[in-house]
């Protein structure tokens, strides 16, 4: 059985074979592991990997699983399943190019006007949520086409606060929250 799993933006092919109940041989990037496992609860799998014991806490997410091992949390998605499900949103990179609050927030100030030319990384809107103010930055060099919010507006993630027309220069998709 084969999977292509995505973790930290990298897609890794993994293989698993099971000959006995609760036992699998796993290969990840050419490395092999002897694994035995017990499901303890829906959120906990106890693993023995090459003799080493560990507890993996797991929660299903919209796009995959969140897995917590030894003080660290990992987000893993099934690349093939996501592909099958279709590129609904044009992928993650696109999303981070929008000027949108990362959580429900209130607009505190708008630092640009229609038609302004802004540089990548320039602050454009300040929003406040949960007692904290955050500046949203221009994700690329561009020109302000339209401002879709006013001071005091409650805004939600996904709502585009500023329509920014990209200038010719290429960008690397960074930006969003500082």
């Amino acid at each position: 059985m084969e999977y292509n799993l995505t973790i930290f933006d990298e897609t890794i092919p993994v293989k698993a074979d099971s000959e006995e109940e609760n036992t699998i041989s796993v290969s990840v990037n050419e490395k092999s592991f002897d694994v035995s496992f017990f499901r303890i609860t829906d959120n906990l799998i106890h693993l023995t990997v090459n003799g080493r014991r560990m507890n993996a806490y797991i929660s299903e997410t919209r796009e995959g699983k969140e897995i917590f091992i030894n003080g660290r949390s990992y987000s893993i998605t099934d690349a093939d399943a996501l592909e099958q499900a279709g590129a609904k949103k044009g992928g993650g990179a696109k999303a981070s190019e929008d000027i949108t609050p990362p959580m429900p927030a209130v607009v505190i100030s708008i630092m640009v006007n229609d038609g302004d030319t802004v540089e990548k990384g320039q602050g454009v809107v300040v929003v406040s949520a949960m007692k904290m103010e955050t500046t949203l930055y221009a994700p690329y060099n561009g020109t302000v086409e339209k401002i879709n919010a006013s001071i005091g507006d409650k805004v939600m993630p996904g709502e585009i606060l500023i329509d920014l027309k990209k200038n010719e220069e290429k960008t690397d998709g960074e930006g969003g929250i500082e």
Binding site: T41, N43, M54, A56, I76, M103, K131
Partner: protein, 495 residues
């Protein structure tokens, strides 16, 4: 003693206060907003009143609704917790008017100490050392610039009102001071409705060390030793410890006496915290008095064995302090880490949402003051604190080891937390050697990213989880092992 207390707060601190109430056989009444119908503090209460919509101004900051709830449920006293109305002199005054006991200092004391320049004047009178600088607000930037020249750069422009770093500017040279005054003042005006500012000397490479004090209505004041709270992000403490790794018995005595003098100078009653900044030579300066229960009070409880909330209630009931200064001593070392729903990789930005799974660490010397549960949705409307994880051990190095172990065993899924960040801080050389200055995070962890960790294991866990199927851990036990029925039919009503 009171029979019933209203707790005008939410989250972990409301729960922590109810714990003590229950031990004292005092009934606790919760208040809650629409967002908090099934919040932990409501579940723990004996009675609860809904006081309005989710916005704090409509509920947890709404003085009249809280007073009405207290009267409706016949509460004799109100505990304000921290945050919200805890340091609101108007609220304390309204309680006084209504004959409800406010568990905290008087409105007058809250109001005096809430103004930084009045507080500085009081301290000067009480012979408590303050940072060099002004004790009056000053509207004229020219005069401030002159004063800055006198005490020497760098200096700090500070708003008289508020806190949390707002209306505050560090100024390194005379060229910047005009602009700094203007921007600090306007920021303070918009944040606190008061643009008054003044000038202080800026102390570099300083530590934040505070003393817990208790003062009764009979004139007795004691302190419960210090806490060091230098590790801060966004002007908010995230790791606190006691004793301070910097402290010596001689300095502790000097600072403790100053803290008691500060409380005396202000006419303080109830529990409070006197904050100081301390430079590398051990000079210390009064910073402010927090006129409430402090977030980090548990570490003091761990090393002194005193329940501070119980002391607050006893004092509010007019009882005499049963503790005396010579009986207070610290045992071992305690550390607190604040666990917020926030993303340490993105400037500690809040990460609200549903906690899909949570498992709290437990074991000897571990205390987790928690205000949420698995399945609870951390609301977007409030401070996103999940819990305060506190450990106590024989000494500092054992306490660090215990905290690291506890953090590793603290499972929170569904929201981001600073747990991996905190582990890295606690393991770092500067923390281990006690080099804890207020610029610690900027200095050592500015662009922190987690190590990639054990990706192979995470992938293996993914596969094992797919293989294992779900048990459907519902409440019916299967008769003989194996998988249980995943879904229980609902009970049928006979009509």
């Amino acid at each position: 003693m009171f029979k019933k207390i209203l707790i005008a707060n939410r989250g972990e601190i409301a729960c922590r206060i109810m714990n003590t109430c229950r031990e004292m056989e005092i009934k606790s009444v919760a208040v809650y907003s629409e967002a908090d119908k099934t919040a932990m503090h409501v579940l723990m209460s004996d009675e609860a009143c809904c006081i309005g919509e989710s916005e704090p101004a409509q509920s947890y900051l709404n003085i009249e609704k809280i007073i009405a709830a207290a009267k409706e449920t016949s509460c004799e006293a109100i505990h304000p917790g921290y945050g919200f109305l805890a340091e609101n002199a108007d609220f304390a005054a309204r309680c006084e008017e209504e004959g409800i006991i406010f568990i905290g200092p008087s409105a007058k004391v809250i109001s005096d100490l809430g103004d930084k320049t009045i507080a500085r004047q009081l301290m000067v009178k009480g012979d408590v050392p303050i940072t060099p600088g002004m004790t009056q607000t000053e509207p004229n930037p020219e005069i401030i610039a002159k004063e800055a020249e006198k005490i020497g750069y760098p200096v700090l422009i500070k708003a008289a009102a508020g806190g949390g770093g707002k209306g505050m500017r560090v100024v390194d040279s005379p060229e910047e001071i005009q602009e700094a005054c203007t921007s600090a003042s306007s920021e303070a005006l918009s944040a606190f409705g008061n643009g008054a500012i003044y000038l202080e000397k800026f102390i570099e490479k300083s530590r934040h060390i505070e003393f817990q004090i208790l003062a009764d209505t009979h004139g007795n004041i004691i302190h419960l030793l210090e806490r060091e709270c230098s590790i801060q992000r966004r002007h908010q403490k995230i790791i606190e410890e006691t004793p301070s790794p910097f402290m010596t018995p001689a300095l502790r005595e000097k600072m403790g006496n100053a803290a008691v003098a500060a409380a005396g100078a202000a006419g303080y009653v109830n529990a409070g915290t006197v904050e100081f900044i301390v430079d590398q030579k051990g000079n210390f300066y009064f910073l402010e008095v927090n006129t409430r229960l402090q977030v980090e009070h548990p570490i003091t409880e761990m090393i002194t064995g005193v329940d501070i909330v119980r002391q607050q209630i006893e004092i509010a009931a007019g009882n005499r302090l049963s503790l005396s200064q010579e009986k207070i001593s610290g045992r071992g070392h305690a550390i607190e880490c604040r666990i917020y729903a926030e993303d340490p990789e993105k400037g500690f930005f809040p990460s609200p949402g549903k906690i899909t799974f949570m498992k709290e660490p437990a074991g000897p010397g571990i205390r987790n003051d928690c205000g949420v549960y698995s399945g609870f949705e951390v609301p977007v409307n409030y401070d996103p604190i999940i819990s305060k994880l506190v450990v106590h051990a024989e000494n500092r190095s054992k306490a660090i080891a215990r905290m690291i172990k506890s953090l590793r065993e603290y499972i929170v899924l569904g929201v981001k937390t600073p747990i991996p960040f905190l582990i890295d801080v606690l393991r770092s050389d500067p923390f281990v050697s006690g080099e804890t200055f207020t610029d610690f995070i900027d200095e050592h962890f500015k662009d922190w990213k987690p190590e990639k960790g054990d990706i192979d294991m995470a992938l293996i866990a993914y596969l094992a989880d797919e293989m294992a199927g779900k048990t459907g851990t519902l409440s019916v036990a299967p008769e003989s092992g194996g998988f249980s029925t995943p879904w229980q039919t609902l009970g049928n009503w006979k009509i």
